[in-house]
Symmetry: C2
Subunit: 448 residues, 2 copies
């Protein structure tokens, strides 16, 4: 006979203010962490049951790391907290006037709401590109790219047609930010160290890697010196870098560039931009048309709502003179905002004054390959090469969420370093789409 | 302008006998290994680009190991071999009269063919069970089970109905062989060590684990002593073992047992049997109606074909008095047959005499949990408990394919041992099926 479960009632009736955090990315995690010990009920909603360390997705996509090394289950991260609740579900709408959110698993009331729903890939309304290209925002995306890269080489073995073979063996990456640069570097190491052993039947010199960047230089957010060096490194490694060049269209095979050039490739990875991923119900006037980010004041409060905050990629703060277009869509601003918002919520509950956000820019870095990275530190300290690469690895290891992930990623990197190998070159997942594609490529007579 | 790629022609025209191996499981791998240095062209066809170490799939399904630890890409395994070719594709038919196989990527001629296509789950024509239950033969299956187990607990938090909650928290495993026993042991360790920390809101005492076995005892292929001890271990660990009990039907929620009892669970894992997975085109008279395995002579040759061999799970050898029903569907017979078949093919090419197969039974083992395993060795040596567990781990580590997999699995096991944790409790994959299910479970008012 059905009866009410007492535990559920107990949780809903904590008698403390409820802080709901939407999204467990870098920002959301910091909010949860810094609400530890506060007299609140902290509830995290996320579509996934795990945090994803997005800066290393490119290593999953290029077989360097296994998926489990860069994700951490939320429940594990906060297992020791008695004031923390996780719910697997998508927040579909906010009703600010009633302090309610609507989610795929029901409606919930909040006292304080933190929107940390991050960013999604920005295709700038190019539907054809969106349909035919790959993006890299989630573990599933990265795994799909890994599957696709390897599958293309398997297909390249099957065709009798040189053009088809080349379009299968060539890769186009759009966007010369850290993601695009790191992806191209990793692809070039696969081409140099791994694929020639795996695909002796293919002439790997035929594998072209193109990096297409619309602005005049790579790593736009970094110093000229870093840009120049990244360009040099990539060129040395055989990557064809096209700056001042935009992709106009892509039908799954032919990419038309703004220069009039055409690139033929069955694989185009779109890393050319992101935009905010705000939740329905936020006043449309509070969403910046450029970047689709929620406009917030210096306390990360959404206009007109003292109890609704937006942080990280989804938020754009007005009034920081150094960052008139908002803070960079990277982990550090999200983390710093997250920890401050948690503290400010505690202040608000205690009816004390809250502090405005000041971004502390520690600098930025990108890796291109083995012994090749570029680092811009605060105060104009810049260096490139092997030492920069060690710094990059150290910082990323330390930032990885979870001690086990740090250890296993470190071991994987050591392994990759000494073996020159990438062990995760696996096609895992449903194969349903193979048969139709193969009809095009296969040599009916003899696929050997 | 399209032109023929010279590399492809070169490969197809090696001028050496071509040995095609269908399937890179334990048997197929041994064939490839032992053809090293032979004057043949070895071609492996597989649906996946990697070998799967099936004995540890249950650890992937229960969050103990990451997928990459138990798989190894074929091209990596044989990267140093110049006489080895891999093709990603499914073999759909054999035309023995012409020495051709038909595959999803085209037709190929063989001189020698080794069918090592393994086994598939046997539902004994119970379509309803097949439709509603989970099986565990591939990495994708194991990942789906992992996703499902964790998702069920997330759903259990949402319902107001005790019956629904219980059916989400309870798990039924059908089949008391090594897979079923090991799965139940691992589930019970999750229930004891991991889930109480993750799901403080659920009363984990409500999580029931049922193991249903049709025969009078568990681990039917092992000694009475091992069966008894496995039963004791599982019972101590809280698993409800039902022997002499068959599942008659399962509609996704209600399992009807042959004893008249009903078990209510949304998760039923079917590990009750496997059957051969022969390839179309083998003479139907050569396929045993019981077990669907290809009947072979003492040289693993398929009746009527000197150049077609079948090995491992897909083959049943007639004439071995000790194994009138065929050799056990486990790794050792497959591996031993694989290495012998490779040697015999070399003999046939050299026009020398070939040797018949003699199975060398080293014994068998199963693990139930931490410090709990059962081992039957050749010569009647039997032991159970902690030492058996160390032996089990050592043997499995040594059998894992690839040195990196051995190292990383060892480290994961050490980690799990000392932390009592299982870090891979991840839901990874498409979420499309969530929304409809949630409609049933969700509490519209407040999912907290």
């Amino acid at each position: 006979m059905p009866k009410l479960i007492t535990t559920r009632t107990r949780i809903a009736d904590l008698g403390k203010p409820r802080v709901i955090v939407i999204g467990g990315g870098f920002g959301g995690l910091e909010v949860v962490k810094h609400l530890k010990g506060a007299s609140v009920q902290t509830v995290l909603f996320d579509k996934y049951n795990h945090h994803t360390f997005q800066p290393l997705l490119y290593q999953v996509a290029t077989s360097g790391l296994e998926t489990s090394a860069i994700v951490a289950p939320f429940r594990k991260l906060f297992a020791k907290r008695n004031d923390f609740y996780f719910r697997l579900g998508e927040v579909t709408k906010i009703r600010p006037e009633e302090n309610f959110i609507e989610t795929s698993i029901g409606e919930v009331k909040y006292d304080y709401l933190v929107i940390a729903s991050g960013a999604v890939t920005n295709y700038y309304n190019m539907d054809e590109v969106e349909k035919n290209s790959s993006c890299m925002k989630t573990i599933v995306d990265a795994t799909k790219i890994r599957n696709k890269i390897i599958r293309q080489l398997e297909y390249a073995l099957l065709t009798d047609d040189t053009e088809t073979m080349n379009s299968l063996m060539d890769f186009v990456v759009v966007g010369g930010g850290p993601t695009g640069v790191e992806l191209c570097g990793a692809l070039s190491e696969l081409k140099r160290n791994v694929f020639p052993k795996d695909y002796k039947e293919l002439d790997m010199r035929e594998m072209d890697i193109h990096l297409v960047e619309a602005s005049p230089r790579l790593l736009n957010g970094m110093s000229e010196q870093a840009s120049k060096k990244a360009f040099e490194f990539l060129t040395e490694m055989g990557v064809k870098v096209h700056v001042n060049t935009a992709v106009k269209s892509y039908d799954g095979n032919e990419a038309n560039l703004s220069t009039g050039e055409k690139l033929f490739s069955r694989t185009l990875i779109w890393a050319a931009g992101v935009k905010g991923n705000p939740i329905n119900g936020v006043n449309p006037e509070s969403i910046s048309p450029k970047g689709n980010r929620v406009m917030v004041n210096e306390f990360n409060q959404v206009k007109g709502h003292q109890n609704i905050f937006a942080i990280g990629d989804v938020a754009v703060m007005e009034g920081d003179e150094k960052f008139p277009k908002g803070h960079p869509m990277m982990a550090p601003p999200a983390q710093q905002q997250g920890s401050l918002v948690a503290k400010n919520i505690k202040q608000l509950i205690a009816k004390k004054s809250i502090k405005p956000f000041r971004y502390f820019d520690k600098g930025s870095m990108a890796t291109i390959g083995r012994n090749k990275a570029v680092v811009d530190m605060k105060g104009g300290i810049r260096f490139q090469g092997a030492f920069a690469w060690y710094v990059w690895m150290f910082v990323h290891l330390m930032s990885l969420v979870g001690f086990r992930n740090k250890v296993f990623t470190f071991l994987s990197w050591m392994w990759n370093y000494f073996s020159y190998d990438r062990s995760n070159r696996l096609i895992i997942g449903r194969n349903e789409d193979v048969s139709t594609l193969v009809e095009e490529y296969k040599s009916k007579e003899n696929p050997l």
